[in-house]
């Protein structure tokens, strides 16, 4: 934060927004530029210094050459003078040397002199030097010519004096030049000093700037990357701990983006944690408040870890009394040693284990419990404990036991009833056996009997048969009502049942002088029925029709299919039945008084028995009739779900035909 107060906010923001690659570039380039700048400055300073030193050297060279010119001329002058005085040629050597060397020295000077003031003085010097040389030449000429005349002429003396003046002028001019050049030299020396100072200053400034640049780079790096990465790291740690994240200055660079994402993740995580906490809280409340189920958690070793209201209610222990106890405490002594361990082993192996049995409460009383133990595993499949759900089903157990007892009693009662029916059947039929047997014997030997006895025997036989059929029907009805009827339901081809019943009842219909038609269902449908009983019902209906259809001409037996059920109908065109009589039609022993009127035989139990038989086969029986219009008795049977395969039916047919 310290840096932020130093650096203006807007720039800081722009810097923070800069992508990391650019930031890196800036951090590298800033010191680099400063370094290059410093180098350039150094180079320039040394160049200027070299130039200044050159100038100084040149000034010295100019001074030396000027002196040399003066020396050459002076020596040449004294040589000429010597020659003048002596006439010896060897005095002319300096003159010749000056004549020889002067042009080169003057040429160097011409090149070296740059300063205008100096050049002006030099131009004067040059003319004076020329004059001097010309004066010397004149003098020498004169000396050669005067040698013959001997001695020095006045003209010569004047010339000498003039030459001496020229040399003096020259000397003075040299002083002027020297003075100028000296000033120039001083100026240049001063400049060199200045340049050197400047160079030192620049170096110091460069060093300072370089240091500052590096510092700036470090600061930039720190503010732009390192510090923010640290903040980010800290936030990541906070996220890990689940603590709220510290505020992070928003920026659009990579770190800023990452921080924003971290922020969002944190918000999402917090929202989820909140949801989870709420959900856990709800769940905990639900589990704790459930009263009908004991729901609690066991440690992997089987110790109670949690407790709920239901468990407290069912088992009697308070949470603080039971938590930490081994759950075998809930088992009665006889199973405590093995059952708890066995249940845990089974739950561990199979995921869950269910059991019903006696458990004990805190006060020692027992209850019949349904227990489900479920193994709790974490994501890696490591066993973390068990969830145990216990229900007190003592009441259910008791009612089941009561039910079982009642069922056993019912079975016993039923057996007793069957036994009674069997005995009754025996008791009633045994005397009938003697009566009918002897009657038959008498009938067989009826030739030997007088006519009146023959009629009596016929009457006995008829009455006895009636009585027998009455007994049979009565026993059938009783046995059905006792639930002990031997109705065996199996998928049976309906048309086979129809044709069997048709074949058996055809003689009765024929005896009654009626037509008998059969309309089968025709597609091999099977019905769920007891074949023998179904035939019995059809026989009953056909026999009834034959019995009462005294005016009509036919009886028809037919079958149709309706709503998944087969409907078997027996119709006649007889007198029909009065509407008022219909309600009593299926009541035992109620023959509507017609037997007496028409003299028809029957027990009066046929329809009642048929109704019970049909109902025991899950069917219904009904009648449609109008007086004078005939009657149709219909009963239904459930169609079997799968029609019998054709091959089997053919097999049956083969067996029958062979």
């Amino acid at each position: 934060m310290g840096e932020r107060s130093i650096i203006p906010t807007r720039i800081a923001k722009a810097w923070a927004d800069l992508p990391l690659t650019r930031k890196g570039l800036v951090v590298v380039i800033v010191p680099l530029v400063i370094l290059i700048g410093s180098l350039l400055t150094l180079y320039r300073a040394s160049y200027i210094e070299a130039r200044a030193e050159d100038d100084v050297r040149r000034a010295f060279a100019i001074q030396r050459d000027i002196y040399q010119v003066h020396a050459l001329l002076a020596e040449a002058a004294s040589g000429v003078r010597g020659y003048l005085l002596t006439g010896e040629e060897r005095f002319l050597d300096p003159y010749e040397k000056a004549d020889r060397d002067l042009p080169a020295t003057l040429g160097r000077l011409d090149v070296a002199i740059e300063d205008r003031g100096v050049r002006e003085a030099y131009e004067v010097f040059l003319t004076q030097a020329d004059r001097k040389r010309a004066g010397l030449d004149d003098l020498l000429e004169r000396a050669r010519t005067q040698r013959s005349e001997a001695g020095l002429s006045d003209a010569t003396r004047a010339l000498l004096a003039a030459n001496k003046d020229v040399l003096d002028d020259l000397r003075r001019q040299i002083d002027v030049i020297q003075e100028l050049e000296g000033a120039l030299l001083d100026a240049r020396r001063e400049r060199v000093e200045r340049v050197r100072d400047q160079y030192l200053l620049q170096t110091a400034v460069s060093a300072v700037i370089g240091a500052l640049g590096s510092l700036a780079a470090v600061v930039l790096f720190s503010t732009g990357i390192v510090r923010r990465v640290h903040q980010l790291e800290e936030n990541a740690e906070r996220l890990q701990r689940g603590a709220p994240l510290a505020a992070f200055p928003p920026a659009t660079d990579e770190i800023g983006t990452l921080a924003t994402k971290l922020d969002r993740a944190s918000a999402l995580l917090r929202a989820r944690e909140q949801d989870l906490r709420e959900s856990e809280e709800r769940f905990r409340l639900v589990v704790e408040e459930v009263r009908d189920y004991g729901i609690f958690v066991l440690t992997p070793e089987g110790k109670v870890a949690t407790w709920n209201t239901g468990a407290q209610r069912i088992k009697g222990w308070q949470a603080d009394e039971i938590i930490g106890e081994h759950f075998s405490i809930f088992y009665p002594e006889e199973t405590r040693a093995f059952l708890p361990a066995h249940m845990l082993a089974r739950a561990t192996e199979q995921g869950s284990a269910e059991d019903e049995g006696w458990r004990v409460r805190k006060d020692g009383t027992r209850f019949w419990a349904n227990v489900i133990i479920t193994a709790l595993r974490d994501e890696d499949g490591v066993l973390r404990g068990f969830a145990k759900v216990t229900r007190d089903i003592t009441e259910r157990k008791q009612s089941e036991e009561a039910l079982e007892e009642a069922r056993e009693q019912a079975i016993a009662a039923n057996l007793a009833k069957s036994e009674f029916l069997s005995r009754t059947s025996h008791e009633l039929r045994t005397p009938m056996s003697a009566i009918l047997g002897f009657t038959q014997v008498l009938e067989l030997d009826s030739e030997e009997l007088p006519e009146s006895h023959k009629r009596a025997v016929t009457q006995i036989s008829k009455a006895a048969r009636h009585l027998l059929s009455l007994i049979n029907d009565l026993l059938d009805i009783s046995s059905i009502e006792a639930g002990g009827s031997d109705v065996a339901l199996e998928a049976t081809p309906l048309d086979e049942v129809l044709s069997e019943a048709h074949g058996l009842s055809a003689p009765i219909v024929k005896t009654a002088g009626l037509n008998f038609t059969l309309t089968p269902l025709g597609r091999g449908q099977t019905v769920l029925c007891d074949r023998r009983r179904t035939v019995q019902v059809i026989l009953n209906l056909v026999t009834n029709a034959a019995k009462y259809n005294v005016d009509g001409s036919f009886i028809s037996l037919s079958a149709t299919e309706e709503d998944g059920r087969a409907v078997i109908s027996v119709s006649d065109d007889g007198p029909g039945i009065a509407q008022a009589d219909l309600p009593r039609l299926f009541t035992p022993f109620d023959r509507l008084g017609r037997d007496r009127r028409k003299g028809a035989e029957g027990s009066g139990l046929g329809l009642a028995l048929s109704k019970r038989l049909v109902e025991s086969m899950d069917g219904t029986i009904s009648v449609e009739t109008e007086e004078g219009e005939g009657a149709t008795f219909s009963f239904t049977l459930p169609l079997a779900e799968e029609p019998q395969p054709t091959t089997v039916r053919e097999g049956v047919a083969d067996e029958l035909s062979s």
Binding site: S418, S422, R423, S425, H426, E427, L428, R429, T430, P431, M432, S433, A434, I435, L436, G437, F438, Q440, V441, L444, L468, N472, L475, D486
Partner: protein, 146 residues
């Protein structure tokens, strides 16, 4: 001796010894009438089932007519006893005559060794024919074994 291929004559059949056991005197009388009509001569009747085994062992009957529902000892017990006292090679026809019409009774009797079963009241002629058939089978069986 007759060969197995020969017809079994009526005389051979009616010579056979028959023991009828029923606690009802009327029924025994009816059976007697029936058997006499058919021409049987060696016929024995017993109305006390407790004496049945003694009689059975003494008489060694060829055929037994047996009622199922009797006091003290019922027909089922007698069927088991007969089987125990009869060697496996011997074909002993027992015709059960019962007023018990239940399927269970029929199945139990037949499974205990009854060779045939007729429900009371019965057709006199039918019972006569069944007795004759059983005896004929017995005679043919004996011929095959000898």
């Amino acid at each position: 001796m007759s060969s197995p291929a020969d017809f079994v004559t009526t005389e051979e059949i009616t010579k056979r010894r028959i023991l009828a056991i029923d606690d009802e005197e009327a029924n025994l009388l009816l059976l007697e009438t029936l058997l006499q009509r058919e021409g049987y001569t060696d016929i024995h009747f017993l109305d006390d089932p407790m004496k049945a085994m003694d009689q059975f062992i003494d008489l060694e009957p060829d055929l037994v007519l047996l009622d199922l529902m009797m006091p003290d000892m019922d027909g089922y017990q007698l069927l088991e006893s007969f089987r125990r006292h009869t060697s496996p090679e011997v074909f002993l026809p027992v015709l059960v005559l019962t007023a018990d019409t239940t399927v269970q009774a029929r199945r139990r009797a037949l499974s205990l060794g009854a060779k045939d079963l007729v429900v009371k009241p019965f057709d006199v002629i039918e019972v006569g024919l069944r007795i004759a058939n059983l005896l004929e089978t017995q005679i043919l069986y004996e011929r095959l074994r000898s």
